[in-house]
């Protein structure tokens, strides 16, 4: 059972930050879903091409979005990938990449459920 604490994003806290406007929350989460999808594609491409500076830069960018929305666990994974990308250690990059992919999968499922109105827990 997924609890509020284990959710990738604290919707309640975010809603409060947005002054309690649910329509704005939905709009913002839709933008986050779009942004993380785009950044993820850039990260994957950089990883495939072993472009580590590009990978670190893309990881930094997605980290900014995740941090802004309070997606702590995914943000930490992005921070780790950014760090490993700057270090250029192939094994460490691969491990960090897998961790971020997992976190982003969790986030995508949660965001799609919320934005699509299928978040049964209500999220708030």
């Amino acid at each position: 059972v997924e609890t509020t604490a284990s959710r990738p994003i604290d919707y309640g806290a975010l809603l409060e930050e947005l002054g309690g406007q649910e329509s704005v929350l939905h709009e913002m989460l839709g933008i986050l879903l779009q942004t993380t999808g785009e950044c993820r594609a850039v990260i994957r491409r950089a990883h495939t091409e072993m472009d580590y500076p590009g990978l670190a830069s893309a990881a930094h960018k997605i980290k900014g979005a995740l941090v802004a929305f309070g997606a702590r666990s995914a943000a930490m994974a992005a921070a780790d990938l950014e760090l490993q990308g700057r270090g250029g250690d192939l094994v460490a990059v691969r491990r960090a990449m897998a961790r971020l992919e997992d976190e982003l999968d969790r986030l995508r499922v949660a965001l799609e459920a919320f934005v699509g109105g299928n978040d049964e827990g209500g999220g708030r």
Partner: protein
């Protein structure tokens, strides 16, 4: 107060922009540092909130360019945002001329506090400009004349020329103080 928001990352920009509007600010957004600079050149604003790392021009360079304007029409308060850890970045931001440096995420409450400081600083800067005007300051270089015929900045004037705080109570306050003193020295009626 109008705010120029420079942030390349869409989701963070949208969230921050929504929060600023919620606070009643008028905003202009730019998707990178270069676009922010072009916007600022077209229309200077009193507050700039900029991300540090951006493509084409980073927040440090944007800040340096704003500070390099020789005769700005007004002071611009620059708040730099970053998700980069470490005080080294903060020091670089301050060295570039930023007034404030905020580590992401900035919560709504933190934003309220920081912008209050920004507005207070801008209020003082506006007062300084008015003081320059009263003292016969130059409309272009803003320097003010000294009694010995030099022209110096307002800040130098305040430390070098302006007298120390030698204020005395005005007649109204003297009268009020006298009443208070008289009341407190009345004998007890018991």
């Amino acid at each position: 107060v109008k705010i120029l928001l420079a942030e390349d990352e869409l989701a963070g920009r949208a969230l921050l922009n929504t929060q600023l509007k919620r606070l009643g600010y008028e905003t202009v957004v730019a998707e990178d540092g270069r676009l922010a600079w072009e916007q600022f050149e077209r229309e200077p604003v009193e507050v700039v909130i900029t991300d540090l790392m951006m493509p084409h021009m980073d927040g440090l360079e944007l800040c340096r360019r704003i500070r390099a304007i020789e005769r700005p029409p007004f002071y611009t308060y620059v708040m730099m945002l970053t998700s980069l850890d470490g005080k080294e970045w903060a020091l670089q931001g301050i060295a570039a001329g930023a007034d404030d440096f905020v580590t992401k995420p900035a919560t709504f409450d933190e934003l309220v506090i920081r912008l209050r400081v920004a507005e207070h600083t801008l209020h003082l800067e506006r007062g300084m400009r008015r003081l320059e005007s009263l003292l016969g300051g130059c409309v272009e270089c803003h320097r003010v004349p000294t009694p010995d015929g030099r022209r110096i900045s307002m800040r130098s004037y305040l430390t070098e020329v302006a007298p120390r705080d030698e204020r005395v109570p005005c007649p109204d306050c003297r009268l009020r103080d006298a009443h208070v003193s008289a009341a407190s020295s009345e004998p007890c009626r018991a």
